[in-house]
Symmetry: C2
Subunit: 256 residues, 2 copies
């Protein structure tokens, strides 16, 4: 009930939003009730799941600022058992306005508290930074999923991210666990991808997930239609990969 | 003298660091004296240009915090006429610690002031956010270069970025100009790339640059060797593209 998974990596463009949307959709397809929370002021998860900008109010910012109850910001998507709390650039205001609050790291956790009974899973899409919104995502999570691109800068940032997670465990959320490291946009044509992939397997054998998401054009087209890949092109290799990821996540959580 | 170009886009993974490193190297190859400033706590420009982590002190953070004079943080690279001010995760501290200062948006501009006479160009690599460090990059700049990937989310974020630039022009840096919008990682195999590219040409005909950077594997391999593409593989199509970009930048600035 209400198992919360945050998709986090401060490195930009590694597939956080793509993973948040598609993992959510695949868990819903397996019969789970899922809430996707867009915690990035860019609002990519909101538009990628088909919520038009003008229909995105009230949003996460309105909940954190105390303007509405959490349930008021929940929207149904066109996809069965998949709801979303949207965001847009106003959320960037929260990072500045709410940073003086006493318990500023617990804003998102508090906001989600009343919703836990309504969902089997809550999936958070974090922004590309280690600032207050990301710390909120780490504090609200039971598990953390770390997408990485198999490219040079991927390994560089991983050290900083893991030490931030350790700090959050020590002071804000002692029970949070790393669910796994997910290799995304894997391009079989390049040596670099397999070199980085082997490094990750060597350094983090317990965390690296079996599932690897290949780079496919259809996946990058899907958000422009506001759809997860399993609805946009169900027979695409990326649809199979994200379905496999959902299975592997359930296995790791002992919930199959 | 000291023409400052900031490479900015809050969308992650669009080629900011890759453009900052390679534009700097190509301007240096054309005989310009160039200072590359890593304003991203991820420190990707620092490692991508070959400065090892342990040699990266003092860094930009030490200058902003007042521990050292700006010149003390300047390092020579292996590449002629190309210097760098490095960064690492400590810079993230500056965003929080210095946010209470009266003139917090001018920290980087002040830090660069004494260095302007030593260089023809200063190129700033910004982090993927619209927070204080990025606002500092917009305030310190004479010109702003906006890399975008030709993918769906690219256009979404552009509106927010341009309105942030307008706000900075009104209150912090009235003379800053958009130098151009650079299309990066252009993959000729996909319709999406040409669709997004046409949208950009239609909406921003005066800002979109002629030069387009193609997606090439060699370019993504270059940072793991700590080298710009013109040194790693000078005959690669991306080396030609970044050389063309340097020419186009000089043309736009009337400096050919
Ligand atoms: N496996 C894939 N194959 C092809 N394209 C992909 C894949 N995964 C993601 N993309 C595309 O790559 C770009 C970056 O992905 P995405 O926006 O999900 O990353 P992100 O980590 O959420 O970025 P940010 O750091 O800005 O939040 C998007 O345009 C997306 O459509
Ligand atoms: N034209 C290109 N062809 C192939 N790979 C590229 C190209 N440009 C950049 N890359 C690779 O794509 C990834 C993202 O690029 P880069 O790190 O420069 O983006 P960024 O905007 O600086 O990211 P961040 O938002 O995290 O700062 C890197 O691994 C880089 O090596
Ligand atoms: Mg995202
Ligand atoms: Mg970068």
């Amino acid at each position: 009930m209400g198992t919360t998974i945050s998709i986090v990596n401060q490195k930009g463009g590694v597939g956080k939003t793509t993973t948040a949307i598609n993992l959510s959709a695949c868990l819903a397809e397996l019969g789970k009730r899922v809430l996707l929370v867009d915690a990035d002021p860019q609002g990519n998860a909101t538009s990628g799941i088909g919520i038009p900008r003008q229909a995105a109010r009230p949003q996460l910012y309105d909940v954190l600022a105390g303007f509405v109850e959490p349930r008021a910001a929940v929207k149904h998507t066109r996809f069965t058992r998949l709801d979303v709390i949207p965001s847009d650039i106003d959320l960037a205001g929260a990072e500045i306005e709410l940073s003086q609050l006493e318990e500023r790291e617990f804003m998102i956790q508090r906001a989600l508290q009343p919703l836990i009974i309504d969902y089997d899973f809550i999936v958070l899409d974090a922004p590309p930074s280690l600032g207050l919104l990301t710390v909120n995502c780490l504090t609200a999570a039971h598990y953390i999923l770390i997408p990485i691109q198999c490219e040079y800068y991927a390994l560089e940032g991983l050290g900083n991210l893991l030490s931030t997670i350790r700090k959050v465990r020590m002071s804000l959320n002692p029970s949070v666990l790393v669910l796994g490291i997910l290799r995304t946009m894997y391009d079989t044509r390049t040596n670099l991808a397999s070199q980085v992939s082997e490094e990750v397997e060597k350094h983090f054998p317990h965390w690296v997930l079996r599932t690897i998401i290949p780079r496919t054009v259809r996946l990058s087209e899907a958000p422009s239609h506001g759809m997860p890949i399993i609805y946009y092109d169900s027979r695409n290799v990326a649809a199979a990969a994200y379905r496999q990821l959902a299975q592997e996540v359930l296995e790791r959580l002992g919930e199959v």
